[in-house]
């Protein structure tokens, strides 16, 4: 079994919800997610973000869905850290 431990995403979002609300919504997707959000660029109506999420087993589809629900769009996955686990007998 392979679990996603860390992802770094390039995301474009509207100004609202703000960075704090946005990162809190992402953190709520899992029980042990740690979210770091950097605002890279601010335009008239949008913000470009770099979001780093760390967790024991990140549910990437749920993350993607939350990003879309908040009106943002995922541009690229910039970094990934995955780990395989030894299956028990």
């Amino acid at each position: 079994m392979v679990s996603v431990k860390r992802v770094v995403l390039d995301v474009l979002k509207p100004h609202q919800p703000n960075a704090l609300e946005f990162s809190m919504a992402l953190a709520k997707v899992g029980t042990d997610y740690c979210v770091r959000l950097n605002v890279i660029e601010v335009d008239e109506s949008t913000e470009t973000l770099q979001i780093e999420i760390e967790g024991n087993d990140i549910d990437f589809e749920a993350i993607q869905s939350t990003i879309s629900d908040m009106g943002a769009s995922l541009h690229s996955i910039d970094e990934v850290e995955v780990q395989s686990e030894i299956q028990g007998n």
């Binding site: 474009l12 509207p14 609202q16 919800p17 609300e21 335009d43 008239e44 109506s45 949008t46 879309s68 629900d69 908040m70 009106g71 943002a72 769009s73």
Partner: protein, 194 residues
Amino acid sequence: MSLLKQAKFLLSITRSHDIVRRYFVVNGFDGALTMLGLIIGFLVSAPTDTSIIINVCLGAAIALGMSGVSSAYVSETAERRHALGKLEDAMISDLQDSAHGKAVHWVSLWIALVNGFAPLIISLLILTPLWLSKAGLSLPISPLYAAIMVALILIFLLGVFLGRIAGISWVRSGIQTLLIAVLTSVLIYLFAGH
């Protein structure tokens, strides 16, 4: 997400709290002044049966409520669709299924309900003495005067509410709105009383 949390989230991302507050005060004031005008109109006219006064005022209150709901919903939806279109252009993506897309309908509906129910509820409160009198309860003063008193108190409270929002003296703000009501009453008396 619970319905209340969802509503708070949608109001937050659309920054609509102040719009809701503004609609509440503007249309609540509308309702209170309309009832005040009608009641003073009845007061300076030939004596009329209480049930007729209640029916006329209730008709106006319902019309104010319906007008508030429908006009706010239509205009807010149009404005929000326009804003969503601009945001979609900036994002280069379809936002209909996002919180911003849902807010077009739900936030407009919430604003419309506040806009409609504010004058309706305030009007119904002003009519309370008339209902009590019709139900056979004896009031210390004439029901029409009691209704005017209720209207003036509610108008004063709307002023107090505005004062607290603005962070200025609530007494001063309450007296300001009360003066508007008194001026309205004097104008009605001058034009309709003779």
